[in-house]
Structures are given as structure tokens and as C-alpha cells.
Amino acid sequence: MLNDFLLLMKAELALAFILFLVLILKVGKEITNERLLALIQLLLLGNFIFGFFFIESGSLFGGMFTTNGLIAFQKSIISLGIYLISLLFSDWLKKSELLPEFFILLLSAVLGMFFLISSGNLLMFYLSVELATIPVAAMANFDLDKKISSEASMKMILSSALSSGVLLFGISLIYGATGTISFDQIPALLDGNGLQILAFVFLFTAFAFKLSIVPFHLWTADVYEGSPIAVTSFLSVISKGAITFILLTTLYKVFAPMHDLWYNMVMLLSVITMVVGNLFALRQQNIKRFLAFSSIAQVGFILLGISSHSMEGTSSVVYFVLIYVFSNLAAFGVAGAISQAAGKERIEDYKGLYQTNPLISWVLALSLFSLAGIPPTAGFFGKLFLITAGASKGNYFFITVAALNMIISLYYYLRIVSAVFMDTNHQPIPKINLDHSTKLGMIICGAGIILIGLLSWVYDYITALSF
């Protein structure tokens, strides 16, 4: 019994151990930021490697907590993401006076995400959604003296509070309609009556808020622009990824009997999300705001893959999120390094970056190529598999719209690349001295962007785990 508990919950236990260790170090004797950050980076790397050992499947607490190979892999993706964040933003983190608090909040949010991915019950689901959002809202306020940071955090906590209210209303209606809140028992009791459909719409609305699917995306750009870049990257990569994984489970397992109903909904929202995200991204001047709208457009592609309701859907979405972690974190890492060193966040300031900072420019170009989906970067294969999965339903009109959207997105991604490599600037950004961990993080991201697409066993491994 105890053995089961220790083995099945090992990812959560490891994370909780790191969390409390940071807490103890914070109250203990004085320790410099550099040494503390190095220790945390080492622990997070250990946590990521530990995720690949002792993988078991099973469930605990009467089905409230479930885990299997795919869930363990999803948790590894998240562990990798936080490790990369601790590397890429080390410059900003070292100068922060509240370094331990930052990691305490970050790790508790990640703990919430781990429980979220593993949840097998609507109660567990609700509790872990809250644990995954409330610390992030506090993190958005981390630039305490900046006006926009407090505004962003206010917008985030209010919109997430409203969305959790909507989520709860949906859960209460499901409980009323079926009499159970367990993921295993709900599918057998769904017969598609009006109350259940209403409940599903409420539940999906809450997901749409958290994933910033159009028309519930209005908080996204403001929160992304106002927060510190480390927090923005966490929000746009890690929390999006975790919510995507649990959306997969809910739609494919819990609401599988209502598939005909949600297929149209997901398809329509996917197309609207792509179009609106792309069109707004065209006119952005601030790099964080630009990346916010580009991430909205990427969520549209994820929804396209989810709509297929098949094994290919699961594997292509997990694969795409893995690539998305590398490519988006690389873009945010470059934006963070420039913002930290030169204080510039506008796209026109990036003109002529290649002349002064070749390494950063190449990493930025690679990540933007991957986000746009240009071969041979991994982003191309990710989008290819998503669109193939979506096309299995035979709805070619929507697939055509999605493919056309990729062309629109090429324009604005390549606009930045051309500004960096081709334009000249009288006052270019001066040469930036990256510290070793930032450099290491960028190299890992760049290698990931190229290798994940070329090594076919990565996708095969995910397919073998999917169901």
C-alpha cells in the first residue's frame, strides 16, 4: 500500500520535496542568489531526469488520482519546461530580491498542474485548477513597483476567478444530471439530455478561458504584456500545456459519448481562434504582446488536433506541446535577455540585431521558423501531424482554412526575422553578455527545435504511450 503510494505519486512527491527545501533555505541562514539559483537548477534537472524512472500505472484514493505512461511523459514535458525557465531567465532571477518566493510560487503552481493532469475526479480537478492558477496570479505581480504589472495581475485573478465560477456551475450541473463526479462513472451516465449539454457548455467555457480560446481570450494579451517575461513564458507554455493535456482527457474519456456534439464546437472555435489570433498578431509592436497573439493562434492548431477524437489526436497534441515548449521558450528567452540587458521590448528595436548579437539572432530565427512551421524545424512536423489528425474526419473546408492561416502567420513571423537579419539600425542593441546558464538554455532549446523533428523515435514513443 505504502509502496504503491510512493511509486505512483513520485513526481508530486519529488516536486513537493524541492518546494519545501526552497522554503527551508529561505528561512535558514543567508545564502546568495547565485548559489541558491544554481542549487535550484540542479534540483530541477534532477527532477526532470527522475521523471523517466519507475514509471507505473494505477490509481489511488478511490480513483481520484490516476497515472500511466502517457501522464508521466506529460509531467516530464512540464518538468523540462520549468528547468528551461530557470536556465533562460537566470539573469533576471539573480537580480530579483524575492528569488525563493518566486520558486515557491512557481513550484506550487506546477504541483497543481501535476495533480491536474493526474486527476480522475471533478473535485480533484477543481482543486488542482485553483492550485495551478492562484500562485500564477501572484507571480504576475512580481515587478512590484511597475504599474502595468499590478494591472496585469488584477486582470488575471479576476478573469480566472470568474472562469472558475463558471467551471463550478458546470460541475454542479453534471453532478445534478448524473449523480457522480468520478471520471470513470460519468461516461456511462451521459445520454445527451439538455441539462448535460448545458453543463458541458459551461465546463468548456471555463477551459476556453484558461486556454485563451477566442472569444474568451481578452485577458491574455494584457496579462502577457504586463507580467515579467519569466512569468509570461510560464503562463504561455507550461500552464497552456497542462490545461491542454487535461482537456484531452476530459474530451476523449469523460465526454466521449457526446462526441458528435463537441466536434462541431471544437472545430468552429479552432478556426475562429486561428483567424483572430493571426489577424491581431499582424498589428502588434510589442514583442510580448505579439507572442501572446501568436500563442492564441497556436492554441487554434492544438484544437484542430483535439477535434479528431482518435489516437493520432492524442499523440499529435502531446508531440506539438513538446515542440511548443522548446520553440516558445526560446523566443521568450531571447526577448527576456534583450529586455533585461537593454530594456527594449518593441519589435522595431530588434532591427540589425544580427550585427551585434549573432547567437541570439540565430536562436530567435530558429524559434520563429519553428512556430511558423517551416521545415526542417520541428514545428513543421508538429503542425503536419496536427493537421493530418484533424483531416481524418474528412472536413476539408476547415483544414483548408487552417492551412491558409499558416500562410498568414508566415508573414508576421518572418517580419521579425527580416528585421533582425536584413534591416539596418543606427542605434542597434549593444552586444549582450549572456551568462552561462542562459546560453546553455538557448542551446538546449535550439537543439530541441532541430532534433525533435528529425528523430522519429520521439513521435513513435509518444504514439506507443497514447490510447
Binding site: 473535485l123 477543481y126 502595468i148 463550478l168 456551475f169 460541475i171 453532478y175 449523480g179
Partner: protein, 104 residues
């Protein structure tokens, strides 16, 4: 005198939910918006208790869920009020119309 049934309670809770959403969307004061969210959460509690009492008296999931909702609502309100205090320090106001640096 008629005994109140499930539909009466559900009518009240649904009305409370939409009053909360309406208040959230129209009020400009942050504290009032937070109060509107509390209305939404409490309408959910009424829903859970009503379904538990009238429809599924043997399954206590609803009762327990409402206890958790109350606890989480308190935690959320604590963080939200801390954020609002910080917003007041930087903006000297808790009116959302004054927090308008981030647009489009």
C-alpha cells in the same frame, strides 16, 4: 402552503449566478467585482446542496464539494485582495477604469 421543491431552489441559484455575472461585468469597483464573484460561487454551493438533497440523497459528493468551494473561495479572495491593495498603492484607486495602461 406549498413545500418548496427542487425547481424553486434551482431558480434561486441560477438567478444568483447570473446576478453575479451581471454585477461582475457592469461594476467598476474592484471590491464590488470580487463580491459579485462570491455571489457566483455561493450560487454553485446552493446548486450542490439542492441536488444532493432532492435528487441524490445517498451520494454525498455534492455536500463535500460545497465545503471545498467555500475554502477555495476564501483563498482566492485573500490573494485577490492582496493584489487589489498593491494596485491601490500604484494607482491610488481601485476603479478598473483607472487601470488602463494595457490596451489592444
Amino acid at each position: 402552503m406549498m413545500e418548496p421543491g427542487l425547481y424553486h431552489v434551482l431558480f434561486i441559484s441560477t438567478a444568483l449566478f447570473f446576478i453575479g455575472v451581471f454585477g461582475f461585468l457592469t461594476r467598476r469597483n474592484l471590491i464590488t467585482m470580487l463580491m459579485s464573484i462570491e455571489l457566483v460561487l455561493n450560487s454553485v454551493n446552493i446548486n450542490f446542496i439542492a441536488f444532493n438533497k432532492y435528487v441524490w440523497p445517498n451520494k454525498l459528493d455534492g455536500l463535500f464539494f460545497s465545503i471545498f468551494v467555500i475554502a477555495i473561495a476564501a483563498a482566492e479572495a485573500a490573494v485577490a485582495i492582496a493584489i487589489i491593495i498593491n494596485l491601490y498603492r500604484s494607482h491610488q484607486s481601485i476603479d478598473v477604469e483607472n487601470a488602463e495602461d494595457l490596451k489592444f
